[in-house]
């Protein structure tokens, strides 16, 4: 019972399109799991199911002790434990960087403005953007915006962080600065699940790689599994990705 996340035989369809076809995997405390696979293989959907952004038709999902598959799930309780960062940043454009970060701690945890501000500066320092507190999102580069989005999640002190292709919209240099922040997080012991196309990063940082194919977990193992795939599909995928 040390697993932070445990999916067991999860099924999910959109209409007649079977997107998750019996997905099972576990992520332990402090583990970094990289979910990889072709476009359309169900990676984002799996991540969204973990955060109760989608409802599932079969199987069970347990996240930080919450039964996510349960109809009676209190989503807001789950949200206190899980942070998610999206490919498109989704910062609130009318709020400054600092206000973006302060919003959830003041609204959800009822922190005072001053405490929330201190917290905002602390997490901003962690992502290397201490001096941008008063800026508006549109004044920042994509990489900076994504780091603010990560900081915004961190401010809620989640036990689990989910990342869905958070560098896919960025050029290589900006990708590097975001990945560095994520690597620091991993080293700090954060439990993370990241959907990514950055194979080198997965190999280096992930303690577990989950290869999804056609809505199934096709292969799973440590980062080194990418060097000696056992299925031809993964071999193909790794080969084409290089």
């Amino acid at each position: 019972m040390s697993a932070v996340v445990k999916l067991a035989n999860v099924h999910k369809s959109f209409g007649s399109n079977k997107v998750l076809d019996g997905v099972s995997f576990e992520v332990g405390r402090g583990e970094v799991a990289a979910v990889i696979g072709q476009s359309g293989s169900g990676k984002s959907t799996a991540l969204r199911c973990i955060n109760a952004l989608e409802t599932i038709e079969g199987g069970t999902i347990e996240v930080c002790g919450h039964a996510v598959h349960d109809k009676a799930l209190d989503r807001r309780n789950l949200r206190r434990d899980v942070g998610i960062v999206f490919q498109s940043y989704n910062l609130f454009p009318h709020l400054t960087v600092e206000q973006n970060i302060m919003l959830a701690p003041t609204c959800v945890k009822a922190l005072s403005k001053q405490k929330a501000r201190d917290l905002a500066h602390e997490v901003l320092a962690r992502v290397g953007l201490g001096e941008k507190a008063g800026h508006y999102p549109e004044q920042l580069s994509g990489g900076q915006q994504q780091r603010v989005a990560i900081a915004r999640s961190l401010a809620m002190q989640p036990k689990l962080m989910l990342f869905d292709e958070v560098t896919s919209a960025l050029d290589p240099q900006l990708t590097g600065e975001v990945l560095k922040v994520m690597e620091d997080l991993a080293r700090g012991g954060m439990t993370m699940i990241l959907v990514t196309h950055e194979m080198a990063f997965a190999r280096k940082v992930a303690s577990k790689v989950v290869y999804m194919h056609k809505g199934k977990v096709w292969e799973t193992g440590p980062g080194s599994m990418l060097d000696k795939p056992t299925t031809p599909e993964l071999a193909d995928f790794v080969g084409s990705g290089l």
Binding site: N51, L53, R75, R76, R79, R80, V82, G83, I84, F86, S88, N90, L91, F92, P93, H94, L95, L103, A104, C107, V108, Y136, E138, Q139, R152, S153, M156
Partner: protein
């Protein structure tokens, strides 16, 4: 054919013109604030409410948009009296104007709400905000910012349209003018003066809403983006 203008004949009435103009401003200001609140609630109800709320709002909006304001004013005025309540003409005028402008506001704000991307709601939801908090902190300000010019025009129109309430003898600017022209027989001059006053009032309303926008939409002010 030469017409002898005699604006001097109106001079003794300047105080009444002023009173009328002030009442017009007052009626419109109250109707704007209440109409904005009503319209925004309706827009949210229509976007996110249960089916019966959506139906109710849609019906209200269509009825108001497809009947003349003058008829609405009469219905409110006589309706209230028939129900046994005693409210003055000014009060009836305000109620009618609120009902009217609330419907138009709800359509404008609805467009604003639709312009806020679903991913914004999702991000706020994932941070643990409640639905009310999401509307208040994440959705409303950008939504209203985007349709603010349309709202401004609507509220200037409202101020001009309030002249119709002279028909139930609310003592606003047009009603005052009607009385003065029948006292003085200087109809042409009276309505020219009133026209100029309305122009000035429109200007005041626009400036007022512009200043309000500067206060509320801080980012626009700081980054210098025009509304």
């Amino acid at each position: 054919m030469t017409y002898q203008f005699d604006f001097a004949a109106l001079l003794p009435y300047w105080h009444e013109f002023l009173q009328g103009a002030l009442l017009t401003l007052q009626l419109s200001a109250i109707a704007t604030v209440l109409g904005f609140i009503l319209g925004t609630l309706c827009a949210i109800g229509r976007a996110d409410g249960p089916r019966w709320v959506r139906f109710l709002v849609a019906t209200y909006v269509e009825v108001i948009r497809n009947t003349p304001l003058l008829v609405q004013v009469f219905i409110v005025y006589f309706g209230i009296a028939t129900l046994g309540f005693h409210v003055g003409a000014d009060m009836a005028a305000v109620i009618a104007l609120v009902v009217n402008v609330g419907a138009y506001t709800s359509e404008i704000v609805r467009a604003g709400l639709e312009s806020v991307h679903k991913s914004q709601l999702e991000a706020a939801d994932c941070l643990g905000l409640s639905r009310t908090q999401i509307y208040w902190h994440v959705v409303l300000r950008p939504a209203i910012e985007r349709v603010y010019p349309a709202l401004t025009s609507q509220y200037v129109l409202l101020m001009l349209a309030s002249s119709i309430t002279s028909q139930i003898s609310a003592e606003e600017l047009t009603a005052v003018a009607n009385r003065i022209q029948s006292d003085t027989f200087r109809s042409f001059e009276t309505y020219i003066v009133v026209g100029v006053i309305y122009l000035a009032l429109s200007f005041i309303v626009r400036i007022g809403l512009w200043l309000f926008g500067l206060v509320v939409f801080v980012r626009r002010r700081k980054l210098g983006t025009a509304l």
